[in-house]
């Protein structure tokens, strides 16, 4: 509230106004009046004073004039003589004190007489002229007063002119001038006083002060123009104002009034100081002010009193009203007075009381209403029945401040089931449900009435809190009835009795709760049925989806079928079209043919002659080739024995030959070799020409090629005193696909030529990629697919004109004349042909005496030489048949001619073969060579059998237990091929390894037909050695041997029968001891083991096998009738990859698994397994003696890991699930690392890791999780569960090892 709005302030102001304003008004008015009156009186006083002064002045002046006129008249002065005049004048001066001087002046202004007070002026000093006033105009000829002036003595003087007229004519004859001292005339004025300070002075018309109380002022000649009235007078204005105020020369404010003296033109000025003039007024004014102040003070005091008197009760009323407003209805104001305010306070109190009582009522109603609203809020929305009940009981109990409560809901079948409770602790006797009429609640439900119980027994129900228990003594049971059905019964218990208000609340809410419950129940029912419907719909939809997907799958399959059908149709159509086209072509051809035939018939006739000649020629050529080809056999066979024996003699193993003899033998051997080389070259050339040369195309690493050259020629070249340099240029491929033997043959030829024709310097072989400057003669060669091999020498070189012919057969540079360098001269021809065969070509660059460079250009991939191959493949067999008889006929003649011993003549070992002996059968028609071979075999501790024909060989192979066969191809009777076929056809002999030794070149068919080796005659002892050792290892390894360990004879028989139709030799034993000894003796490819043996258990047997240094355990198939525990299985899996439990269908598996092991070859192993094998046996520092726990249920995985890790020097513990792992960790100390699979039965990896980490001992134990799961989240899960690292399956062993190195690093 602004202060001016406050009543108290207003009242104060009001009182003040009421008292002070009139008082002040009256005062001011009075003062003003008084002031005016005072002014009037001043004016009057001053006027009177002025007037009095003026009158006195006039009186004294006129008195003077009268005296003068009297003198004049009486003396007739005008006519008197001068002395009389002087006398009269002197008399006059003496009588009138204020006369200063008197003179008589003639009308024309000449002074006649002049008399002073004390002197008479002599005529000399009289003035000739004096200005006189003009009297002529004046009627009455009255004296004129002149102006006031100052004498030299500073006397204020004025002249009075009195005319003197002739009494006759009344003409003015002279003028009497009287000098009057005004101060003397008006001296009384200075004595006039007005009040204390007032004084009177006189001024003339110029304002000059004539008379002033202070005489000096007059003497100073001051004027009084400061006085405005004087100023006005001076300027000739009429003066009306009175009481003018001005500041006088003493700087005092004064009042002034004037009175004018007209005759003298003087002004009487009355002055009085304002202070004095108005002193009475001032006095009255100050008195009035004092009065006013007193009145003001009284008024203020009065106002304060009223303010206090009014404000206090009003204030308490205000606070009272505010308290009421705040809701404190109990607030009352103390009644202190019986006045109106007292009454107001009383009625205020009465009003507050009324308000209080009505509010209490409203509160109660509001409480109930709010309760209902809150209840409504609690139960609003889609809540389940249980939720609703919980909300209701929670709300009711807390709203009614009950300590405990529970609610039972009608289940629709007349039973009330406990639904929700509030702070309810079901005691021992608590029953979940009750029926109508059962117990108190039941009764309440039956009666549909609220039941209120007081002082119930102490154990009835308890209220429990963590601080203790107490028993509510009051119980109220409320049934909720809706639609004539009891929906639920609520029980509430409290420590205090239920109030009326609570009761009415319960009654009020019971109905609505019933409705809510009923609604909730029906909603629940609705929801249940809705969910059901929706589930059914979803299910239906899913099924539909599946059906659709399945249909689509079928459709796709059908479409694919249709597509392939369409494709077939198209192909058929294409075929048909092609057929038609062919037919057309055939027809066209036929037409052409006819024409050609016609032409041909003529040509034929002409050609027949030619043909005949050509035929003769070709037959001759063929015979030549055939002959040569066959000759090779015939030539080589004797050479074979010759060379072999000569070599053996040279070796002089028995030491019984003299050095001469040895030398001779060496010469025989060397000559034989030369002969052989010659024959070979001739044969090669003829073979190539006859198209019989075969290529064996393979991948050849170039390094192998260079190594081979190095091995073959380094010694030779160095022996000749030359150097050999083999080098590779950049960008060479690692390998090429070609025929190594032929390439070497060409290069050998080049190099031996180079050696031959070089005496100083060296030979260099360079492998490189030809640059673009090289021009190929063959069209199928490109720079990108060709490598080049240079053979350079520093020899004699080849003249240009000879460079071409050296490639021709039987040509040499030097012709026949001076054959300094031996040789057949076939080498380069053969090389050229071979190069051509390999798809390449040969280039030559040479200068005489500057060396030669032979370049072999080869495609990186030799062309498939179909022509030569097919020729090679077919001809040896087909061509031989018609021709062989002839040749073999001659050969047979040879045989007959030669004193060759018959087959039995060669004493072999057929009578002395023991059961343990390994036997080799030699089928060879050359008895000498056969004998040599036999000796070789014997040296190798084989027993040997010799047969000189294929037929005998086959018989021997049947009759004896043969371990290997050495077979010649050219045999009398059936040839080697047929023998091989027969051997392979027969089951009893098909497993025997066969090694070919023939004068023919090897052909690929040999191996596909079952030969294991091929040697070309002539053979060297080294070749023989190699062949025999090959056979030896074949004998030792090639057989499939199976060890069957089974004590039951019938079972053994059955298994043998099951497996025996395979290529398997089955060794049967019935005891463990036998099995061990058998295993020590032989190597088996597979072992079938029954666990139940009479002498030892299968487990023991396996363990002993493992430990026995003499035994390399074969793969074991455990075949048992026993059920195995997991531990047993795990134990067995260490030794065996396959465990079969005997049963109805187990034989199938036995056969399957056994054949699997029998045919498994190391080469067939996957890259990964090979790798694993290769990293085996490589103990590693990081894993050495570390204990690794592998937790995985997958045996395959566990064993693979253990094998690798064990070989790295680690110790492996295994657990197949999490529980086992935890047990192991607890039992065994010093586990360094855990490999943890995730997906395991019983306890999975995540849980296991969590459990491990819970144990503080294993907080830092490195765990690597192995899981098939691939997603980032899975990895995170692993880490979160406690894994240190993570590796996805399938496990990359290298990664695992490096990971383990990291985690095991200390």
């Amino acid at each position: 509230m602004k202060w001016w709005n406050r009543l108290s302030y207003r009242l104060t102001v009001f009182i003040l106004l009421l008292t002070v304003v009139p008082l002040a008004g009256v005062g001011i008015y009075t003062i003003n009046d008084f002031h005016n009156v005072r002014l009037l009186s001043i004016e009057q006083i001053h006027g009177n004073m002025g007037q009095a002064a003026a009158e006195r002045i006039e009186a004294s002046l006129s008195d003077t004039i009268k005296k003068i006129e009297l003198i004049i008249e009486s003396s007739e002065l005008e006519s008197a003589d001068v002395s009389d005049q002087e006398w009269f004048l002197q008399m006059l001066i003496k009588t009138i004190p204020h006369l200063n001087a008197l003179k008589v002046v003639t009308v024309n202004g000449q002074e006649k007489v002049k008399v002073g007070r004390d002197s008479v002026y002599n005529p000399a000093s009289l003035k000739q002229h004096i200005d006189l006033p003009d009297f002529s105009s004046t009627e009455d000829k009255k004296p004129i007063i002149g102006p006031v002036y100052e004498t030299v003595l500073s006397e204020k003087i004025f002249d009075l002119y009195v005319p003197m007229s002739n009494p006759m004519d009344k003409q003015v004859v002279a003028v009497l001038v009287a000098q009057i001292n005004i101060e003397k005339l008006l001296g009384f004025v200075t004595d006039l006083r007005v009040g204390d300070t007032g004084y009177v002075y006189v001024v003339n018309h110029q304002g000059k002060i004539l008379i002033y109380p202070d005489h000096s002022v007059v003497l100073a000649g001051e004027n009084a123009l400061k006085n405005p009235l004087v100023k006005d007078f001076g300027s000739g204005q009429k003066i009306f104002e009175t009481n003018q105020i001005y500041t006088n020369r003493k700087q005092i404010q004064v009042f002034t009034n004037v009175y004018e003296i007209k005759e003298l033109n003087l002004l009487v000025v009355v002055v009085q100081s304002v202070d004095e003039a108005l002193s009475s007024v001032r006095q009255i004014t100050s008195r009035q002010i004092v009065t006013l102040a007193i009145v003001l003070l009284v008024a203020i005091l009065l106002a304060l009193y009223f303010i206090i008197k009014l404000n206090r009760p009003l204030g308490s009323l205000t606070t009272g009203a505010q308290q009421l407003g705040r809701g404190d209805l109990s607030h009352r104001i103390k009644v202190t007075s019986s006045d109106e305010i007292g009454t107001v306070t009383q009625s205020f109190n009465a009003m507050a009381q009324d308000l209080e009582s009505s509010k209490k009522k409203a509160d109660r109603l509001g409480w109930i209403r709010q309760g209902m609203v809150e209840l409504d809020e609690q139960t609003r929305g889609e809540q389940s029945l249980e939720q609703v009940c919980t909300n209701i009981i929670t709300f009711m109990a807390s709203y009614l401040k009950e300590q405990v409560g529970l609610i039972h809901v009608n289940d629709g079948k007349g039973k009330f089931i406990y639904a929700a409770g509030y702070a309810f602790d079901p005691g021992e006797n608590f029953s979940n449900d009750f029926g109508l009429g059962e117990g108190l609640p039941g009764q309440a439900a039956l009666e549909r009435k609220m039941v209120i119980l007081a002082d119930i027994p102490a154990e009835y129900i308890t209220v429990t809190s963590s601080l203790g228990n107490s028993t509510p003594r009051h119980l109220v049971i409320v049934p909720f009835v809706y639609n004539d059905q009891v929906e639920a019964v609520m029980e509430l218990g409290s420590l205090t009795p239920i109030s009326e208000q609570q009761k009415s609340f319960l009654t009020e809410t019971a109905d609505s709760i019933a409705i809510i419950l009923s609604a909730a129940r029906s909603r629940q029912e609705l929801k249940t049925s809705l969910t059901q419907t929706r589930q059914q719909a979803e299910e239906l939809e899913r099924q539909q989806e599946e059906l659709q997907a399945a249909n689509e799958e079928m459709e796709e399959q059908t479409q694919q079928l249709m597509a392939s059908e369409n494709k077939l149709k198209e192909q058929q159509e294409e075929l048909q079209a092609a057929n038609e086209e062919l037919e057309e072509k055939t027809q066209y051809l036929e037409r052409n043919k006819k024409k050609i035939e016609e032409k041909n018939s003529t040509l034929e006739l002409m050609g027949q002659d030619l043909e005949k000649k050509a035929e003769d020629l070709s037959i001759a050529s063929k015979y030549k080739s055939e002959f040569l080809a066959n000759m090779s056999h015939e030539l080589r066979t004797p050479l074979n024995s010759l060379l072999l024996l000569a070599r053996l003699l040279t070796d002089n193993k028995k030491g019984n030959l003299s050095s001469d003899q040895v030398d001779s033998a060496r010469i025989i051997y060397n000559s034989g070799n030369d002969l052989l080389a010659l024959i070979n070259e001739i044969l090669d050339l003829s073979k190539i020409e006859a198209g019989k040369m075969q290529l064996s195309v393979n991948e050849i690493p170039l390094t192998e090629l260079s190594d081979s050259l190095d091995n073959n020629f380094r010694r030779l070249v160095i022996e000749k005193g030359l150097s050999l340099d083999i080098s590779f240029k950049k960008d060479m491929p690692k390998s090429i696909i070609s025929d190594q033997q032929r390439i070497l043959q060409i290069l050998k030829n080049f190099i031996s030529n180079a050696c031959k024709f070089t005496s100083t310097g060296g030979v260099s072989v360079i492998f490189y990629r030809p640059d673009t400057s090289v021009v190929f003669l063959r069209k199928d060669l490109y720079h990108s697919n060709v490598i080049a091999i240079d053979v350079r020498d520093t020899g004699i070189g080849i003249p240009e004109d000879k460079q071409k012919i050296i490639f021709e057969a039987f040509q040499q540079v030097e012709g026949g004349s001076a054959r300094k360098f031996g040789g057949t001269g076939l080498g380069l021809s053969i090389s050229r042909e071979l190069a051509n065969l390999l798809g390449g070509e040969i280039k030559l660059k040479s200068q005489v005496n500057a060396g030669s460079t032979f370049t072999l250009l080869l495609p990186m991939k030799a062309p498939a030489s179909t022509q030569s191959e097919s020729a090679g493949r077919v001809e040896p067999i087909e061509l031989k048949k018609p021709i062989l008889p002839q040749v073999s006929g001659t050969a047979a003649e040879h045989v007959v001619d030669h004193p060759k011993p018959f087959q039995t003549d060669i004493p072999d070992d057929r009578d002395g073969i023991g059961s343990d002996d390994k036997t080799i059968l030699i089928i060879e028609d050359d008895a000498d060579f056969a004998t040599t071979l036999l000796n070789f075999c014997r040296e190798k501790r084989f027993k040997g059998l010799v047969s000189l024909s294929g037929e005998d060989g086959l018989k021997l192979a049947q009759a004896f237990k043969i371990n290997a066969i050495i077979l010649d191809i050219h045999l009398p009777g059936i040839d080697g091929w047929t023998v091989l076929e027969s051997l392979k056809e027969n089951t009893s002999t098909r497993h025997i390894p066969v090694h070919f030794m023939s004068a023919d070149d090897p052909i690929p068919e040999a191996f596909s037909k079952g030969a294991m080796g091929y040697l070309t005659k002539p053979v060297t002892p080294e070749d023989m050695e190699k062949a025999i050792s090959n056979l030896q290892s074949m004998i030792n390894k090639g057989m499939k041997d199976l060890l069957l360990v089974e004590d039951n004879t019938n079972q053994r028989y059955a298994i043998t029968k099951l497996i025996s139709d395979q290529d398997v030799v089955i060794q049967e034993v019935s005891t463990g001891i036998d099995a061990l000894s058998e295993l020590r003796k032989n190597k088996f490819d597979c072992m079938i083991l029954d666990l139940g043996l009479p002498d030892m258990s299968g487990f023991d047997l396996l363990k002993k096998m493992e430990k026995d240094p003499l035994i390399t355990p074969p793969p074991v198939v455990v075949y048992t009738g026993r059920e195995l525990t997991l531990d047993e299985e795990s134990e067995l899996r260490k030794y065996s990859d396959s465990i079969i439990i005997k049963g109805v269908r187990s034989e199938e598996r036995l056969l399957d698994e056994t054949s699997l092991f029998l045919h498994r070859v190391v080469d067939n192993m996957s890259e990964e397994k090979r790798k694993m094998i290769s990293i085996l046996h490589d103990p590693e520092q990081a894993l050495q003696n570390r204990t690794i726990l592998v937790v995985d249920d997958d045996m395959r995985n566990v064993f693979a890991l253990s094998k690798v890790l064990t070989n790295k020097g680690a110790q492996i513990l295994k657990a197949e699930n999490g529980i086992k792992a935890l047990e192991l960790l607890n039992q065994r100390k010093g586990v360094d690392l855990v490999l943890m699979d995730i997906m395991m039965p019983v306890m999975d990896g995540y849980e296991t890791m969590k459990k491990i980490r819970e144990d503080s001992r294993f907080a830092k134990l490195p765990i690597i999780a192995l899981t098939a799961k691939a997603m980032q989240r899975d990895k995170e899960d692993c880490i979160a569960a406690g894994a240190n690292d993570y590796l996805a399956k399938p496990v990359d062993i290298d990664r695992l090892l490096s990971m383990m190195r990291v985690w095991l690093y200390r």
Binding site: E552, A1268, K1289
Partner: protein
């Protein structure tokens, strides 16, 4: 661009988004089927276009979970195709009997009904001690349900009938407790089954197994994915192990066709043969 092509592009983007965000790869599911599922889900989620689902999928993981649920079809029942179970009993289990212990992998087990059926089969053939049964699915929700092993009561009749047709030797009622309108599979059956999350699209082989059941799963995959899954199975199976596909599925056009021999053509039971 035609509407159809736009839709295809949208689906492709959506599946890419799912893969990049969550690692679930639905891109190699059969096109028509996935299209139906996507559109269905779009409609139930009240969105106007497939593209609109992408931002929600990326930012709202629960939305994706819902969608993944929608993508995985969980139609199954106890002894579904009862004759197939009969065939298993007659042709496969006797061979499995020759292993001291063996593992069965039921891939795509959904809510586990068929896994329970297998468990019953193993129990009746007295093989439950030797067998380890893995039942896997990529749908965690379904797995959760499977672990609970609670079935609808109203299916009980059908299941009993199927059980009998599958050559059940006992009474089906012995394998469950019926209460509160539901069937609870007996604990002893459940404990032999390891339910685990495994996604055939992304995950690898986790164990060496002797019998794999994967029925009516590959019909939702495209050829490429079918081949991958076949590869997983081939790798997981031991030599001579068995593979059992859905009645509508086939090895006909698979490159693994030659590596399995047919045991039961009608019920699509195959055996891995030696190479």
């Amino acid at each position: 661009m035609k509407q159809n092509e736009i839709e295809n592009t949208e689906i492709k983007l959506l599946l890419d988004a799912i893969f990049l965000r969550y690692g679930y790869d639905f891109r190699r599911y059969a096109k028509a089927s996935i299209r139906r599922r996507v559109i269905q889900f779009m409609q139930t989620s009240g969105l106007a276009s497939i593209s609109e689902m992408i931002p929600r999928l990326i930012h709202d993981e629960s939305f994706f979970q819902q969608m993944a649920m929608e993508f995985s079809i969980t139609v199954t029942e106890m002894f579904r195709d009862p004759t197939m179970f009969l065939s298993l009993r007659q042709c496969v289990l006797p061979l499995l009997k020759s292993y001291p212990s063996f593992k069965i992998w039921h891939a795509g087990c959904a809510t586990g009904e068929e896994a329970f059926s297998l468990a019953i089969l193993l129990h009746e053939e007295d093989l439950e001690k030797r067998a380890t049964l893995f039942a896997t699915d990529f749908n965690d929700q379904a797995l959760k349900k499977a672990r609970e092993g609670i079935l609808e009561m109203d299916q009980a009749k059908l299941y009993t009938q199927n059980y009998q047709l599958a050559g059940g030797t006992d009474s089906f009622s012995g394998y469950y407790h019926a209460r509160y309108g539901a069937l609870a599979i007996k604990q002893s059956l459940k404990k032999n089954i390891t339910f685990a999350n495994h996604n055939l699209v992304t995950d690898h082989v986790f164990s060496e197994t002797h019998l794999i059941l994967c029925r009516n799963v590959m019909i939702y995959f495209n050829k490429e994915l079918q081949e991958r899954v076949m590869g997983l199975f081939y790798e997981s199976l031991v030599h001579g192990g068995f593979l059992c596909l859905g009645m509508k599925e086939s090895l006909l056009f698979s490159k693994y066709q030659d590596k399995f021999k047919v045991i039961d053509r009608k019920h699509k039971i195959f055996q891995k043969t030696a190479v």
